[in-house]
């Protein structure tokens, strides 16, 4: 790669694969990632979405130099991720972060700043600012062993922000947090987005992706199954229509031969979801059979539906990677 780092993409991944050797004799191979391609443009909030064992954390760990790729290439700002000057531009929050418990929050963030090459008054000011930003200003002089999970998570985010990174890599930043903690974490991510920081963010919580991400890649079994902007992915799906029918039993409706995406008896009513193309014919058929339609409305296709579709499509693959 000869591109100037400043002009290069924050994240560029080509044909990335990772096979772990497991078992007592290391003779079993688990394919955690298989030929992943990915590009993240500056300023984007990019979501890695997938079930447990989809390869999300492996991708992030390769980018952060924690795991070596078996094949392919992962670049940060156009350069291999293990270069110190590249890492200086990256802040990382791992899943369930573990900090040095004998330090106070302030000491830990200061230590992180020193490793980033900061010192003196600038470092003190920066530590004060990031601890304030994550809402840890008051509790920062307590030892980390006394912190709640949410406080640990926020302190870990503070250490990721200490160097003013151009790229922020967050692995499951909201997992294990209570609703208030999740909300605060989402607000912090949004604040970073406003500053123009590129954010790579991995989760299996779909609502977080919908509310935060510009683009999403869905991984299943170590493979990319969908990629695009949230809007693109949701609207690319053929629209469907929801209908509430009275006066006809579910069995009779099912015998009409339509393709129902959903058919559910609700007391005396039946809730149906059909592709938009079939909705007119179904309406006609219900009226012809003596039924009554009380509601017809376009169904909102969510990222969750997309995610479940992707899971179904990739159903022949093992969750957690393929074991050979």
């Amino acid at each position: 790669m000869t591109a100037t780092p400043a002009l290069s993409l924050p994240v560029s991944i080509r044909g990335l694969s990772k096979t772990y050797r497991v078992g007592f004799f290391l003779n079993k191979h688990v394919k955690a990632l298989q030929g992943l391609d990915l590009e993240i443009a500056p300023g984007q909030v990019y979501g890695l979405l997938g079930p447990n064992g989809a390869g999300k954390s492996t991708t992030i760990k390769i980018l952060m130099g924690l795991v070596r790729a078996s094949e392919g290439q992962a670049l940060l700002f156009g350069e291999p991720p293990d270069r110190p000057h590249v890492r200086r531009q990256v802040g990382f929050l791992p899943e369930n972060p573990s900090l040095y418990e004998y330090l106070t929050g302030r000491e830990f963030v200061t230590l992180a700043g020193r490793i980033f090459g900061m010192s003196g008054h600038d470092l003190d000011q920066r530590v004060e600012r990031v601890l304030g930003e994550v809402g840890m200003g008051k509790a920062s002089d307590l030892q980390i062993r006394r912190y709640s999970k949410g406080m640990v998570q926020r302190t870990a985010l503070a250490q990721a922000l200490i160097s003013g990174p151009r790229l922020l890599v967050l692995d499951e930043p909201t997992s294990g947090l209570d609703p208030l903690g999740r909300r605060q974490m989402r607000d912090l991510i949004l604040a970073e987005r406003k500053k123009g920081t590129t954010i790579l963010f991995c989760t299996h919580i779909i609502s977080d992706v919908e509310s935060l991400c510009d683009r999403v890649v869905v991984l299943v079994g170590g493979r990319r199954v969908q990629e695009g902007s949230v809007q693109e992915l949701v609207s690319a799906k053929a629209p469907s229509v929801e209908m509430v029918v009275h006066g006809l039993p579910l069995e009779q409706l099912q015998s009409l031969g339509f393709t129902y995406e959903q058919a559910q008896q609700l007391d005396s009513r039946v809730l149906l979801r059909v592709p938009d193309a079939e909705s007119h014919s179904l309406l006609q058929a219900v009226i012809n059979k003596g039924g009554r339609v009380s509601r017809v409305q376009p169904a909102r296709f969510s990222l969750e539906d997309l995610f479940l579709d992707a899971m179904k499509q990739a159903g022949d693959q093992m969750v957690g990677g393929e074991i050979q």
Binding site: P84, S98, Y100
Partner: protein, 255 residues
């Protein structure tokens, strides 16, 4: 303050906050007890017995501590996943490893210094002399701690704390016995025993080369050449262990 110094200082701070300094108190109590006892039971060998006991207890406590600290430092970081936040920072893995080693050696150095001061105070109070062989023995002890720490570090880059501690403890005993093992082989008529004893002797650090405590007890001077050779010997083994540790650590995946 560079990243290296920050990490090394953090290692010292970790040990301090985990109350390893309690060992200095334990040493003080043992020394006090021993000198009280020794003044009761000795007539003319007080200096010799106190030196032997003081250096011996110092060695025992610090060797135990160095094995405990070095065997757990990297493996605990891996088990607790604190390593994720450190290895992903702009500092090479080898530098991180060396900084942790430096922090450990700083901790052991400070404790050795504190114990030495207590030991000297005890000697001065009993009007016993502070001798050159005592200084040599203390330097030898620090070198021994360095070799053991490096060995513990190497183990802890790929094994659990328990396994690392067991192997390093084994190395400590084997290292002190390897001359005897060699001599045993020389006297044996079985070729296999000769071969194994020689292989053992050459593949393990001979920690007796760093042990000047018997000479301190009998106040036999240690020459500068002997100290220099011992220093180079310990550095050689330390560097060897560190290079191996670095190779292992650089290739590891942190899942």
């Amino acid at each position: 303050m560079s990243a290296f110094i920050a990490m090394a200082w953090n290692g010292f701070r970790e040990a301090r906050r985990n109350r390893v300094t309690v060992l200095v108190g334990a040493f003080a109590l043992l020394l006090l007890f021993a000198t009280t006892l020794v003044t009761e039971v000795t007539v003319s060998t007080f200096d010799r017995v106190v030196t032997d006991f003081g250096l011996g207890v110092m060695s025992l406590l610090l060797v135990f501590l160095s094995i405990y600290l070095s065997s757990g430092l990297i493996s605990r970081e891996i088990e607790r996943r604190t390593i994720f936040l450190m290895v992903s920072k702009p500092m090479s893995r080898t530098r991180f490893l060396l900084a942790r080693l430096a922090g450990n050696m700083l901790t052991l150095g400070v404790l050795l210094l504190a114990m030495t001061l207590l030991f000297w105070v005890e000697l001065v109070l009993h009007r016993s002399p502070i001798t050159q062989p005592q200084l040599a023995a203390l330097w030898g002890l620090y070198l021994e701690l360095f070799v053991l720490t490096c060995a513990g570090f190497l183990m802890s880059t790929f094994a659990s704390q328990l396994v690392s501690a067991l192997v390093t403890t084994g190395l400590y005993f084997a290292g002190h016995l390897c001359s005897d093992i060699y001599n045993l082989g020389v006297k044996s008529k079985v070729e296999l025993v000769q071969w194994v004893s020689k292989a053992t002797y050459y593949s393990l650090p001979n920690l007796e080369r760093l042990n000047f405590r018997p000479r301190a007890t009998y106040a036999i001077d240690v020459t500068a050449a002997e100290l220099g050779t011992a220093t180079l010997y310990a550095l050689g083994w330390g560097v060897f262990f560190c290079v191996l540790a670095s190779i292992v650590f650089e290739r590891r995946d942190f899942r």
